[in-house]
Amino acid sequence: MAVKVRIPTPLQRLTQGKEEVEGKAGTIMDLVLALDKEYPGIAERISENGKIRRFVNIYLNEEDIRFLSAEGTTVKDGDEVSIVPAIAGGGRREAL
């Protein structure tokens, strides 16, 4: 059993159209770097200098990793990770 990783539409070109790929257990950054070996280019799209880009949200089993241990969050086999670009502006709600 591996980690299930959900890929957003704009990045599916890098995963040969696959919406879901398999990842390895470890920290979030380990997972991203391992994904990049299989799908080159994905790491630089979602991270920079070992940090997840500001406008990319990563969820571990539906919880935003910023509520957990950010890039250092540990992922284990059977977990589900979603990569979701933040909608620019307003986050999830309209207001000032």
């Binding site: 509520f67 933040a86 620019a88 309209e94």
Partner: protein, 413 residues
């Protein structure tokens, strides 16, 4: 007018043409309008601005349109009140209220951003405008869109309060009440924006829409007699408004309208939703998302898209941030109404209460010039004050009954 160079990603700097797009394809960062300031500097002057109509389009060289303004010809140029009474209570020398409780036509600063968004939507050739909103934005798109002749789709969570629904429905847009919460509505709107060729003001038109907030800053400078204040206090939800007020000051310097800016920018949030203020107070640039719980609903963004940039502006200018409780918000709304005759929405209570705290803690100096940005009208969120106002004196229709009350009033009972 040819002053716009294109769109540019705030994160990675990649450039894009002027189109209804809003996200960088490479790094998902937000796109922002880039101007040619050298050509604007040759084309703008205080005199030229002063000769124009008193609306937000008097600064049109610094707004992202190609042709003439088409929407919001009566929006903007709201009063900058010298707040003598409030200054006395707070113990400061020179205090101003930028009063956006009276923006035409729907009484919040959203009328500014929607003016730009809908003018741009016309330029792009859209016939339908849309937004996801719970309040002020819905009202503004409904009203401005009606007058400008757009088809309108307004998406709200179905559980919204009746009074807010009426204030949109009266303009007869297609009001779509979604069976779900705010997050669900927004997620749905992103999908719809991808599928239909509509102008979603706060999605695909956002880079243009957001520029409208700069007009508050331009007006503050002009109304202070072409001077910048020492301090400006701005409420934060996504953080966009704060960054745009600062951008307006920098742009006026860039094009030679003013020479120097010594302004410190201060952020105001409700304690029940203060991801930006918390980051500033902790001195970090990591904005930790929160789950909002505050009466200041128009500020309740738990994961603020421009939070990082807003915190940077505060840091760069030497400002600070404060967060305030629901009780402090209500007290400040009442204080503003009692002293200056301005009935602000809850967000206005947040801004004033935060300013008060920062004056008391010495973060805002008492002998400096301070401007407080009040961004929406209290008549829309009256339920927030339920049980917190005075009561009427109930009397019989007789002089005796009235005079009984009057003698109590005079005794101060």
């Amino acid at each position: 007018m040819g002053h716009i160079k294109g769109l540019k990603c705030r994160e990675c700097g990649r450039e894009y043409p002027i189109e209804p797009i809003y996200v960088c394809e490479f790094c998902f960062g937000p796109l922002e309008v880039a101007y040619d300031y050298t050509s604007i500097a040759k084309d703008i002057s205080r005199k030229k601005i002063e000769k124009r109509e008193k609306n937000l389009w008097r600064y049109r060289e610094l707004l992202p349109i190609d042709g003439d303004p088409q929407v919001g010809l009566d929006s903007g140029f709201t009063p900058l009140l010298r707040a003598h009474n409030l200054a006395k209570v707070l113990g400061v020398d020179e205090l101003y209220i930028k009063d956006d409780t009276v923006v035409h036509p729907t009484l919040s600063f959203k009328d500014r951003v929607v003016s730009i968004a809908l003018t741009k939507a016309k330029e792009f050739g859209f016939d339908t405008v849309a937004c996801a909103s719970t309040g002020n934005l819905a009202h503004s798109v409904s009203a401005h869109g009606a007058r400008a002749g757009f088809k309108r789709f307004i998406f709200i969570p179905a559980s919204l309060e009746a009074s807010k629904i009426v204030a949109s429905l009266v303009y007869e847009p297609n009001l779509i009440a979604v069976d779900g919460n705010y997050d669900d509505v927004n997620r749905l709107c992103s999908e719809i924006a991808n599928k239909y060729r509509w102008a979603f003001v706060n999605i695909n038109i956002r880079p243009f829409y957001a520029e409208g907030s700069k007009t508050i800053g331009f007006e503050i400078i002009e109304q202070l007699g072409w001077k910048v204040p020492d301090n400006v206090v701005v409420p934060c939800a996504s953080g966009s408004l704060l960054t745009k007020v600062w951008k307006s000051f920098k742009e006026f310097r860039e094009v030679g309208i003013i020479r120097e800016i010594g302004t410190k920018v201060y952020a105001a949030q409700a304690t029940g939703c203060s991801p930006i203020a918390s980051a500033i107070k902790k001195g970090t640039d990591v904005i930790r998302p929160v789950k909002p719980n505050t009466i200041a609903k128009s500020l309740a963004i738990g994961n603020p898209a421009d939070g990082f940039y807003a915190a940077q502006v505060v840091k760069e200018t030497g400002g600070y941030a404060e967060d305030v409780s629901d009780q402090e918000i209500i007290d400040a709304m009442k204080l503003l109404a009692r002293t200056e005759g301005v009935f602000a929405e809850t967000a206005g209570g947040v801004t004033l209460a935060a300013a008060k705290k920062m004056i008391e803690s010495g973060k805002i100096k008492r002998d400096e010039v301070t401007v407080i940005c009040i961004t929406g009208n209290g008549l829309k969120t009256q339920e927030a004050l339920q049980g917190h106002t005075l009561s009427p004196y109930y009397i019989k229709p007789s002089l005796a009954s009235f005079e009984e009350v009057l003698s109590n009033v005079n005794k101060g009972v």
